[in-house]
Each structure stands twice: as C-alpha cells, then as structure tokens.
Amino acid sequence: MSVDGQSVTGPQDSTDPAARGGAPALRRAVIVGGNRIPFARSGGAYTKSSNQDMLTAALDGLIARFGLQDERIGEVAAGAVLKHSRDFNLTREAVLGSALSPETPAYDLQQACATGLETVLGLANKIKLGQIDSGIAGGVDSASDAPIAVSEGLREVLLDLNRAKTLPQRLQVLSRLRPKDLAPDAPGTGEPRTGLSMGEHQALTTAQWNISRAAQDEIAYNSHRNLAAAYDAGFFDDLLTPYRGLSRDSNLRVDTTPEKLATLKPVFGKNLGAEATMTAGNSTPLTDGASTVLLASEAWADAHDLPKLASVVDGEAAAVDFVHGKDGLLMAPAFAVPRLLARNGLTLEDFDFFEIHEAFAATVLSTLAAWEDEEFGKSRLGLDGAFGIIDRAKLNVNGSSLAAGHPFAATGGRIAATLAKMLHAKGTVDGRPARGLISVCAAGGQGVVAILEAL
C-alpha cells in the first residue's frame, strides 16, 4: 500500500507482528559501507566550502558508490560541531541537495566530537527496533568556514534596530554603538566552564598519567605510517571520494619520522610545572571534512544487493566531572568501555581491532594507562584490579585522527566505516566473528564507544 510513492506499511521487513505484544526480537543493524571526502587541514583546500557543501559531497559519493539515486532512505542523521545559525536544518538541506529522494527525512545531532558515532548508534538502534530499514549516519565540520558571532553589544543594537519603527528611533539605537562592539566573537576550542582549551585540558591529564613525549611521538608516527600504507594498498579506494582537488587527507605526512617529530616544540602544558610534551605533531590539527555511513537491516541490504560488512552490536556513552578536576576532560571513554564490555560479557582480549580516536596521542595513552592501572580499576571502575591491556598491534592499524585529521563531527563516520571494512576483511577469528571497539572522546567531558562485529 502506498500513498504518493511512499510506503505506508512501515518497514518492509519488520519483525513478526506476533512479537509486538512483548519485546520484539531485535534485528541486526549492519554497516553496508561508507564514504567520506578527504580531510583537509583548516585554511586549506576546503576554505571556501561550507558544511552543507561538504556533507552533500560526502552523501553524493555514497549514493554513487551504492547506486542509491532517488532512493528513499529511512532517515539521515548527521551534524556539525561548529555550526552557523543558517545551518539550522543542515542535514535535511544536504539531503535535498543530494541525489537521494527528496522524501528522505533527516535530522541534526550534536555531541561534540562524538556526533558522528552517536548518529551511527542512534540510527542502528532505530533499525534494530524495526522503525527504519535503512539510514545514513554522518557528520561534517569546517574549522575554516567557522561561524563568527557578533559581539553581545552589536547583537543587542541590531535586534533593537529591527524593532525600531521610525527613523529617529533607529538613529537613537545606532548611536548606542561603540567601536568595541564591532569586534566579532571568534569561536574557540575553550571549554565554557573552565576557559581552558582542549589541549591544555589534555596536558593536565597527560601529566597526571605521566605520559612521555617519546610514547606520544610513537603513536603519532604510527598513525602517519599506517595511514600512508593503507592509502598505498588501495584500502581507501572504496571509502573515500575526492573533493576539491584533494584525493588524500592533506594532513598526512608520508615522510614523517620519529626524529622529525622529536624536533617539534611543545604547544600545550607549558605552564604546568611538569615537562611539556604535547606538540603540533602529536596533537590533531583543526580540520575540515565530512563523512557518511550507510546502515541497513539485513533484509534491506539483501534486497538492494548491497554488501554487509559488519553489525553494530552495542554502544555506550559516559561523562566525567572534569569541571572539578575529578577526571581529565577526555577521559570519559575510560569509563564507557568497561561498562559496555561488562554488559556484553567481553574483555579487551575479545577484540581484534581497537579504534581509539587520537584527539591527542596523549589521550590514547592516558586511556590505556588508566585501564592498565590497578588503583584506577579498583577505585574508579569498581573492578578487582586493572581493567586490561590492549595489544598495540591491534590499535589504529590503518591510521587515525593524528594523520587523517579530525573534523570534529566527521570523525565517528570515518572510524565506523573504516573499522567495518577491516572487520569484514578479517572475517572470523577462532570461529567467532572478528570484533572491533570504537572509542571517541568529546568536549564537555563526554565519550561514546561502540562494538562492531564482522559479517
């Protein structure tokens, strides 16, 4: 039954109606594939591109890859962290500008750097519940085309001017304007409650966990080396569509070495008393870019002859009290992962790949250090001892944010699609599907983590 071309019978492969009385058996939500545009250092190739331009490009590449032209997708969810007021309906506008059916609904989401992963989890849950059969998750950010707010003084004058009815009234309102009101409020990465930038926050945590400069530089070096190798192997051929003359992430330094990284001057934590170890080389730069992930029920993927790479097993969010210094700003995943694994009866040893977002190399290392720390395990996680150790050979094996860059909301989609492809290629391990863990920290002391499993 259809009205105006749209099905009104709900999801085509909804769960057994008999099960509706009780809790319906959950369906699997699978990742079909993904597409992103290469990430560009801010002020570079995408300086003139808006969030909407980039998200539309990432969508159109996905549509072309999977032949989704004129397809009505169940829902598209995406978001941006740095968002203009004109972008109030960013994702829907990007859908309208894409080759998808204009009858595809869309919504925006914002959870800082966890935005992309949260859209994956949200849509996967809707698919599992049978509310939708297909979804596109994503995210976009431009640090180049960032919104600039006018000063509070100018804003008040402009609003009053709009309300003024006569010319004398208008002139009177304008006369209140002072030169200082004309200076814009540029966006910063400072936390509103502490005034500290993310890097300075991480520097506190870095010092707290005694993370060495050499260990950070090693993480950064591996990120570049692994990402470059993945490009050379053609790994990104079906994960990425060029945009504005870029066909690789512009932040990638193919020729970087630990020696070169060691020469860089520290930029964060210079006033902490402890040795400053965080440099531009082991911290992610401001980046522009967009990513998308195609999610579906198994039946929808089969009906559309599309691949099924991995299933979205479960996800968890956590937040920490960084305001009062109880935990570091970016340490929420250290709590989210143990909760998620406990719920699923898994340990760190049950995973074949770990994708820990490299907000800073020190973030990854602080998280690992916390998990390896007995005291932290006992007092903060309520365990008998340390949470566990990660096999470094399974960590960010195709590179991560330090090399690729980190357009805040686009990072989750990049990781989810990359990991799904890696898991599918891996297949099974000891008779069970290959398993991957995603961990993304976010501003506001938050973190979102997820488990994917190979199909």
Binding site: A64, R65, Q69, G234, L240, S247, D305
Partner: protein
C-alpha cells in the same frame, strides 16, 4: 557542442562570407535523439539482385518510405546500393551509374550505403577485383558528399544474407543519426548471429555494462549513451577521479567503482562488483586510456611503460579475468576504444600509437575466444574528437586537425559513444573482431 567556426558558417552572414571566400563549410550533423524517425525522407534501394528485393521488403515492413526507382528532384533520405553478386569489374558500371544522378537529391545528413561481399581472396581474381573495387568507389563517394551526408559500406561474406540480424542492425546504425561522424567506413558482418532488439529505442534494456575511464570526456558520454539505450551501468575510474565519477554515476543512476584498472586484480574486482550489485555482467567497454606524449628520442621508461600498461596490458588482464569467469557467458560484449593514431601513427605518440594498435591486434585475436561463448569483441577508433584533451592542443594545430576530414569538423564524444552502444547491442552479434573508425573519414590513417 559544435565548434564555434561551424556554428558561424552554418547560417546567415557567416555562411555567405565562407562561401565567397571558399572556406570550409562544415554542416551541422544530424544526431540521434530517442523516438525520432530513423531517417527523414525516402530511401532509394538500387541493385537488381534478390538481396535488394529482400532488403526493400524488410525496410517496407519497418514502415519506411522505400523507392526502387529514383523520382527526379525528390529529396532522398538515403541511397542503398546492393552489390552482392558482382562477378567482374564490369558489373559495377550499371548499378553505380544508376545512382549517380540521385546523389544530387540526397538530403543534408543523408546516407549512402553499399552492401557488398568482402574481397577475402577466396574467389577468382575477377570477383576479387570487382569486390575490392567497391572499396575505392565508396571511399571516393564519401568525399564527394556534402552537407553532412555520409557514405559507408556493409560487407557480407558468402552465406551471410543482407537481411541477417547484424546486417540490418548495421544498416539501421548507418541510416540513423547515431553514425553522424562515421564516414567512408566498411563494417564486416562476419556471421548470421545476432538478434534485433524488441525496442529500437532501448536496445540495451536489461544489460549490465561496465565502462572504464567513465569520469569525464568520451567515457562519460559512453555512460550517458548506454544509459539512454537502457543499460544498467558500473562506472570505473581511478580513485583520484572519484568526484567526477560520482557525478556521472548519479546522473545515469549507475554505481561508481573507484579502481585503477592497472591493478592486477582489477578484472576480478569489476566482475565481483557487477555480480554483487547488479546480478550480471553483459558488456565491458575498455575506454580508460592515458597519453604521455614525447618524441621517441626523449622517451623514458616510465612514459612508455605507463601508457602501454594502462592502454593495452590492463585490458588484456581484464579480458583474461572475464574469459575465465562463469559470469561472462550470456552473449557477452567487449568494446575497446582504439585510435586512428594506432592506424596512421602520430608524431610524438610512439607509445600511445603502439598501445592503440595493440588494442586492434588484441581485438582481432580475442574474437574467436568470445565467439566460442556467443560473444563478440570489437574496437572503435576515434579520430579528432572535441574533448578536454583535444581542447588543449594549440589553436592552429587543432583547427587543422578538425578540418582534415570529409565532414570538415571534429566529432563529439557522443559520436564515439553511439558506435560503442551499437557494437554492444544484441543486434551486432554477427560483428566480431572489427575496428570501426569514428573519424569523419579523416585523411590521416585512411
């Protein structure tokens, strides 16, 4: 679309000035749009053989306006000259002179088509002389025609009837606007195989076709033309061209496969993609190609190698994978893009010409491998085509390149695409191992 000079001299003051100065006056060519009549104006069929009668009956059954005798000063859409029973050079005179006076009545973008037997060395010297005579005759007629009219020939070996599917398909191709830039060429119908489509406007309906190098230029035109003819498309190009590829894929409702065809596993990846996404694979168009022009004296290893590798070695590897695949068995079609450079040679293009000549050699040797499974492989050799690549040629050289053919203009990417779409269709099932030039009868390589 058409170059500025051609637009200028095709009407009004520009036309008068060009005429007075004796400048070339290229015509605006009639090109195919779906649903239009095959040809405007009556078709005169000349020739006194049984084949001529059968052909006239078939064309009448297509509701075409057929004449067996010329009516003086009646504008003709096409002239078909059936010469399938020539026994000696003397036999040419009567039929040839019977159409001579009708040439003036040929409408703009009209068609002159011969049907004859190839001089394949099997008959007597006298028969061979007569048959080969058609070759020189037709190529000369093509040079006499004006106003966008073209002359082409269909060669039918003994045993292949003038009304066999591929003979009729070739005839329709030559009559239609699809062959706008094909001039002075012969197409050999080697077998009676092939099947005319149920819908002549959708001859590729139900087919899944792969086009390499589809992100821009001729490749994008091929994608659009195959889509228009009903095919489902897999579009391949190097990852670095993925944004253009995505735009074309979204336009023609196909799927984009970012893949460097020079990779060892390219063939298998193409097959896997087509089978998983579309359930079958019927047509592969080898269009991807590169140029790295240099005089041989300055040629280095990388320029030579990259051109040979992409333009011919990659095609050979992909064909091996296709021929080994169980999914490429249902009257499959391969069409390769060669080049007139591969026929005539071109200064500074030793590598490119070698690769494109290689394509023609590959096609002729692969034909029997494909016919064993009911398939065909053919090549199209474009001449001067208006593309981003030819737009970079210096102005004067470009102008000369454009005018040195019987139609006095460059071809459009769509002209190459039309020839490929025709060779990919079921109707062309009896045409195998052929090289069809789309060059407006370029003087180079004739």
């Amino acid at each position: 679309m058409t170059d500025k000079y051609t637009q200028l001299v095709s009407q009004g003051l520009g036309r008068n000035i060009a005429r007075k100065l004796g400048l070339p006056q290229p015509a605006l060519l009639r090109r195919y749009t779906p649903g239009e009549a095959l040809i405007s104006g009556p078709i005169l069929i000349q020739g006194s053989t049984a084949a001529a009668d059968q052909l006239a009956a078939t064309l009448l059954s297509w509701d075409l306006d057929v004449r067996r005798h010329a009516v003086p000063r009646e504008k003709l859409g096409a002239i078909i000259l059936v010469l399938d029973e020539l026994a000696s050079p003397e036999d040419l005179e009567k039929p040839v002179l019977s159409v001579a006076s009708s040439l003036r009545d040929l409408a703009p973008s009209g068609r002159f088509i011969t049907l004859s037997r190839p001089a394949d060395g099997s008959g007597t010297p006298s028969v061979a002389a007569a048959r080969q005579g058609v070759d020189g005759f037709l190529r000369s007629v093509a040079k006499e025609l004006r106003a966008g009219a073209t002359a082409n020939g269909i060669l039918l070996p003994e045993g292949v009837a003038a009304t066999s599917p591929s003979a009729l398909a070739a005839l329709r191709f030559f009559l239609s606007g699809r062959s706008a830039f094909v001039d002075g060429q012969f197409l050999t119908v080697s077998t009676a195989d092939g099947q005319l489509p149920s819908d002549f406007d959708k001859p590729l309906a139900g087919k899944v076709a792969v086009v390499t190098g589809a992100a821009r230029g001729i490749g994008a035109a091929i994608a659009r033309t195959l889509h228009r003819d009903g095919a489902t498309l897999v579009l391949v190009d190097i990852p670095a061209a993925g944004d253009h590829l995505a735009a074309v894929a979204n336009e023609v409702h196909g799927t984009a496969l970012q893949l460097d065809i020079a990779r060892e596993d390219a063939g298998q990846r193409i097959i896997d993609h087509a089978i998983q996404r579309h359930g079958r694979l019927d047509v592969v168009v080898h269009n991807a190609g590169i140029t790295r022009d240099k005089l041989l004296a300055n040629m280095d290893h990388s320029r030579w190698n990259s051109v040979l590798n992409v333009n011919i070695s990659a095609q050979l590897r992909i064909n091996d994978a296709l021929l080994a695949s169980e999914h490429f068995r249902d009257s499959p079609r391969i069409v390769s893009v060669a080049s007139t450079s591969g026929i005539a040679g071109n200064r500074g293009q030793t590598n490119y010409a070698a690769s494109k000549a290689g394509v023609m050699g590959m096609v002729s040797a692969t034909a029997s491998l494909l016919s064993a499974r009911g398939g065909t492989i053919n090549a199209v050799a474009p001449g001067f085509i208006e593309t981003e690549m030819t737009a970079r040629i210096p102005f004067a050289v470009r102008e000369v390149g454009r005018r040195l053919n019987s139609l006095q203009q460059g071809g459009q990417p769509t002209d190459v695409a039309e020839a490929i779409a025709f060779l990919a269709s079921d109707g062309a099932g009896g045409i195998n191992g052929a090289v069809l030039r789309v060059c407006g009868q370029n003087l180079v390589g004739a």
